[in-house]
C-alpha cells in the first residue's frame, strides 16, 4: 500500500522521469499483482485479511497521484525563489520569506475572507435550518419535491448564478429601485448594507453572494440529520410536560447538531477560499484571499508566494475547524 502511494507521489511530483518512471510503474504494478496473486492462491482467511487493502487501493492511488503529489510540489514551490521575474522554474531554496510575504502583504485579505465566510455561514444557518426543518417535518408528500427545489440552483453554472446577481443588484436594477421607492435607503446605509446608494460592489453583496451560492450545502446535511429523528421522541417529550420550545431545544436541536456541524464546514471552507463572488460582486476593497492567490498565480506569476498563501489558508482553515470541532463537542456528534 505504501509502495503504491509513494510510487504515485513520485510520478505526480515529477521526481522521476523516463526510464525511472517506468521502473516505478513496474514496481507499483508488481505490488498490485502480488496482492492480487496472494489473494487468489491464499485461502478465505487470507482474502478476508487482504480485502481492506484492496478496497483502499483506488482511493489511495487517486489521492496520492492527484492530491498528495501536487501538494508536495506546491510545498516545494512555496519555499523556492525566482531567479528573475519571468523565471518559470523557481529553484528550491528553503526560502521561508514567501510565508512572511504572504502574511504581511495579504493580512487584510485573509481577515476579510474569514469574516465574510463566517458571516455567510451564520446566515446560511439562519436561513437553512428553518427551511430544512419544515421540509423534514412538514414536507409530507412534497418532501422530495421541496428537496429537489433546494438542489435546483446546482443545475445552473455557479458563474452564471453569480453573474445574475449583478443584474439584480445593479444601480439601476430592480432591488435598488424598490429600496429607493420605499424610501428606506437610509436604513440600509445605516446597516452598512448599502454604500452611497449602491448594493453592487459592496461587502454586503459579496457576503450575500456567498450565502446564496452555498445555502444548499447547509440545508442538505441539516435535512438529513433532522429526517432521521423519530417524531415519537418529540411526542414523548410533550407527554413528560415539556413545552414545544423545550422539546425542540432539548430533543430536536441536539440531535440535529451533526448536520449543523457538517453544513457549517461545507459552507465555511469553500467560502473562505472562494474568489468568484468577490470578483464579480465586490470592489477593490472587498478582495478575498482567493482573489489574491489567483492574481499572484495567474497575473503576477509569483508562484512561490501564491503557494505559500495557499498553505497559510489551509493551515488557518484546519486550525479553525479543529477549534470548532472542539467547541461543538465531538461526543454530541456521534
Amino acid at each position: 500500500m505504501l509502495i503504491l502511494a509513494a510510487g504515485a507521489i513520485a510520478l505526480g511530483a515529477g521526481w522521476v522521469s523516463g526510464a525511472a518512471a517506468i521502473a516505478v510503474l513496474v514496481i507499483m504494478f508488481t505490488s498490485v499483482v502480488s496482492i492480487v496473486w496472494t489473494a487468489f492462491v491464499g485461502g478465505l482467511e487470507t482474502r478476508r485479511a487482504l480485502a481492506p487493502y484492496g478496497l483502499l487501493k483506488p482511493g489511495i492511488i487517486w489521492l496520492s497521484l492527484f492530491f498528495l503529489a501536487p501538494l508536495w510540489s506546491m510545498l516545494e514551490m512555496s519555499l523556492s525563489t525566482k531567479k528573475s521575474r519571468f523565471d518559470f522554474f523557481p529553484s528550491f531554496s528553503w526560502h521561508w520569506g514567501n510565508y512572511a510575504t504572504a502574511l504581511t502583504d495579504f493580512g487584510p485579505q485573509f481577515g476579510r475572507s474569514f469574516f465574510y465566510a463566517a458571516t455567510a455561514t451564520v446566515l446560511t444557518l439562519l436561513i437553512g435550518y428553518p427551511l430544512a426543518y419544515v421540509i423534514a417535518f412538514r414536507g409530507g408528500k412534497f418532501k422530495s419535491v421541496l428537496l429537489g427545489l433546494v438542489a435546483v440552483p446546482f443545475f445552473t453554472s455557479y458563474l452564471i448564478r453569480t453573474l445574475a446577481w449583478q443584474n439584480l443588484l445593479a444601480d439601476e436594477g430592480p432591488i435598488v429601485g424598490i429600496i429607493n421607492k420605499l424610501g428606506v435607503e437610509r436604513v440600509f446605509e445605516f446597516l452598512h448594507i448599502m454604500d452611497n446608494g449602491r448594493l453592487m460592489n459592496t461587502p454586503a453583496a459579496v457576503i450575500g453572494g456567498l450565502t446564496y451560492n452555498f445555502l444548499p450545502f447547509m440545508i442538505l446535511p441539516i435535512f438529513v440529520s433532522l429526517e432521521k429523528i423519530d417524531v415519537r421522541l418529540v411526542d414523548a417529550a410533550m407527554d413528560l410536560y415539556s413545552t414545544a420550545t423545550g422539546a425542540f431545544r432539548k430533543v430536536v436541536l441536539p440531535m440535529s447538531l451533526p448536520g449543523v456541524f457538517a453544513g457549517s464546514l461545507l459552507v465555511f471552507i469553500p467560502a473562505a477560499g472562494d474568489f468568484v463572488n468577490a470578483q464579480f460582486l465586490g470592489s477593490p476593497q472587498t478582495t478575498m484571499i482567493g482573489n489574491s492567490i489567483q492574481d499572484q498565480f495567474l497575473r503576477q506569476l509569483n508562484y512561490p508566494v501564491a503557494t505559500a498563501m495557499s498553505f497559510v489558508l489551509m493551515a488557518v482553515i484546519t486550525v479553525s475547524v479543529l477549534v470548532y470541532a472542539k467547541f461543538m463537542g465531538t461526543e454530541e456528534l456521534m
Binding site: A21, V36, F40, D195, N201, L301
Partner: protein, 390 residues
C-alpha cells in the same frame, strides 16, 4: 430476521470481493499500459508539429470583439487555408501567464499568431517566443501607417506587425453624470464616488492619471517618476471612489450606468454608443494614451506561409476597412477611410465618426509610453497589482 440479513450480506460481500479482485487485476493491466500511453502522447505532439507542412492551416488567437463576422470566412475562401480564429485574449498579463508554461519549455502553444499589446510583444520577442516574419511574402505591409512602423524595440519590424490601434481615454454615461466630462480630474470628482471604473491595463490607467498631473509619458523612465500617480490611484481606491478595476468587462457597467465614468478604449465605446446614445468617449484635455496591438508569429508554429498570407490579406485596404467598420478601432492601414466611403451606408458614416477617425486636435493630445527597463517595470507591476488589490 437479523441472522438472515447477515447471511445475505456476507454472501454479497464474497461475490463483490471476487469481482473486485478481478477488477483490480484490470487496473493493474491498465497501469502496465500507462508508459505506452504516455509515450503515445509525447509522440502525438511531435507528430502534429511535423504534419504542419501538408494541409494549409492557420490559427489566430485574438482579443474579443476584434474582428467582423465575414473576414474569417472570406480569407478561407480566398486562400483555401483552414482558418481557426479564437478570442481568448482578455488581458495581457493573464495571457502571458497562460502560455508561459509551454513557451518557457520550448513547446508549442496552439495558435500561430497571437495579438499582445506592443509592450507585451516586446517581452515576447525578448524571451525568444516570436519568429522572424517572412516580410517578402507580405507586400501589402507597404500600406501600413508610418507612425506604427519601426518601434525602438523592433526597429526593422522583423518580428511583429500591427493588428489594430486605439486610444485610451475617458468614457462616461451622461445619464449618470448629468454633464459632459473632459478632464482626467473628473474621475476623482467626489460626486461620482463609487461609480468610477479603471482598467487593469496599467499603462492606460496610470498613463491617464500621470497626464492628468501634467506629466509627459515619454519622460516616465523610473518608478519614482510615477509614484505620485500611484499614490493618487491608491487613495481613490481606499476612499471608495473607484468601484472596480476591470478588463474588457467594463462595457456592461458603463452601459447600465453602474459606472458613471471610467477609463476606456475608444473602439469599445463606439460599439456601445451605437445602441446607447448616453455613452460618450473623450480624449481628456490633459491627454490620452495611444497604443497598438500586434500580430506575432509564435515560436514553434510551422505555418509560415499561412501567417504571411493572412497578414498580407488584412493589410489590403478593402479588407482592413471591413474590419474597421465593425470594430471601430483605428486601422493601421492607410486608405481605409476612402474604402469605408466606398462601402456606403453605415460604414460610410464611420468615415466621419471622430471615434474612428479622431480630429487632429484629439490626435495632438495622444501620448505613447516608452520602453521601461525590466527592473523598473517590475516595480511598476508590483505596485499596480497591490493597488488593484486582487
Amino acid at each position: 430476521m437479523e441472522n438472515n440479513n447477515n447471511v445475505s450480506s456476507s454472501r454479497g460481500a464474497r461475490y463483490s470481493r471476487r469481482e473486485f479482485l478481478i477488477r483490480s487485476g484490470l487496473v493493474g493491466a491498465g497501469a502496465l499500459s500507462l508508459p505506452a500511453l504516455l509515450a503515445a502522447c509525447g509522440g502525438g505532439s511531435s507528430g502534429g508539429a511535423a504534419s504542419g507542412g501538408g494541409a494549409k492551416e492557420l490559427y489566430f488567437e485574438n482579443w474579443p470583439g476584434y474582428i467582423d463576422t465575414e473576414t474569417v470566412k472570406a480569407f478561407e475562401t480566398a486562400t483555401g487555408i483552414k482558418f481557426k480564429y479564437t478570442e481568448a485574449f482578455n488581458d495581457n498579463n493573464e495571457y502571458f501567464a497562460k502560455v508561459q508554461p509551454l513557451l518557457a519549455k520550448g513547446q508549442k502553444i496552439g495558435p500561430d499568431i497571437v495579438a499582445p499589446t506592443f509592450w507585451m510583444a516586446d517581452r515576447f520577442i525578448q524571451l525568444g517566443w516570436a519568429q522572424k516574419l517572412d516580410k517578402a511574402a507580405i507586400p501589402n505591409a507597404k500600406n501600413l501607417r508610418d507612425d506604427l512602423l519601426a518601434p525602438s524595440w523592433d526597429p526593422k519590424n522583423e518580428y511583429q506587425l500591427p493588428w489594430q490601434t486605439g486610444v485610451a481615454g475617458i468614457a462616461y454615461n451622461k445619464k449618470a453624470t448629468g454633464k459632459d466630462l473632459k478632464s482626467v480630474e473628473d474621475l476623482f470628482d467626489p460626486a461620482f464616488k463609487g461609480k468610477v471604473g479603471m482598467l487593469t491595463e496599467m499603462r492606460d490607467t496610470l498613463g491617464l492619471v500621470l497626464m492628468g498631473m501634467g506629466k509627459k509619458l515619454s519622460d516616465i523612465k523610473t518608478y519614482d517618476d510615477a509614484v505620485a500617480a500611484f499614490d493618487k490611484i491608491e487613495k481613490a481606491k481606499s476612499d471608495g471612489q473607484i468601484r472596480a478595476f476591470t478588463g474588457n468587462d467594463y462595457m456592461d457597467d458603463l452601459n447600465t450606468g453602474n459606472f458613471a465614468a471610467c477609463v476606456a478604449w475608444s473602439g469599445d465605446v463606439m460599439q456601445i454608443a451605437k445602441d446607447n446614445p448616453d455613452v460618450h468617449f473623450v480624449v481628456p484635455e490633459e491627454g490620452g494614451t495611444s497604443w497598438y496591438d500586434t500580430m506575432l508569429w509564435v515560436a514553434g508554429s510551422e505555418n509560415k506561409d499561412s501567417v504571411s498570407a493572412w497578414m498580407n490579406y488584412i493589410y489590403d485596404p478593402v479588407n482592413a476597412a471591413r474590419i474597421t467598420a465593425f470594430t471601430g478601432y483605428f486601422s493601421p492601414v492607410k486608405g481605409v477611410r476612402e474604402e469605408l466611403v466606398k462601402m456606403g451606408g453605415e460604414a460610410a458614416a464611420l468615415a466621419d465618426n471622430p471615434l474612428v477617425f479622431p480630429d487632429s486636435n484629439s490626435v495632438s493630445r495622444l501620448q505613447t509610453w516608452g520602453s521601461l527597463a525590466e527592473a523598473e517595470e517590475a516595480k511598476f507591476d508590483e505596485r499596480f497589482a497591490s493597488i488593484t488589490g486582487a
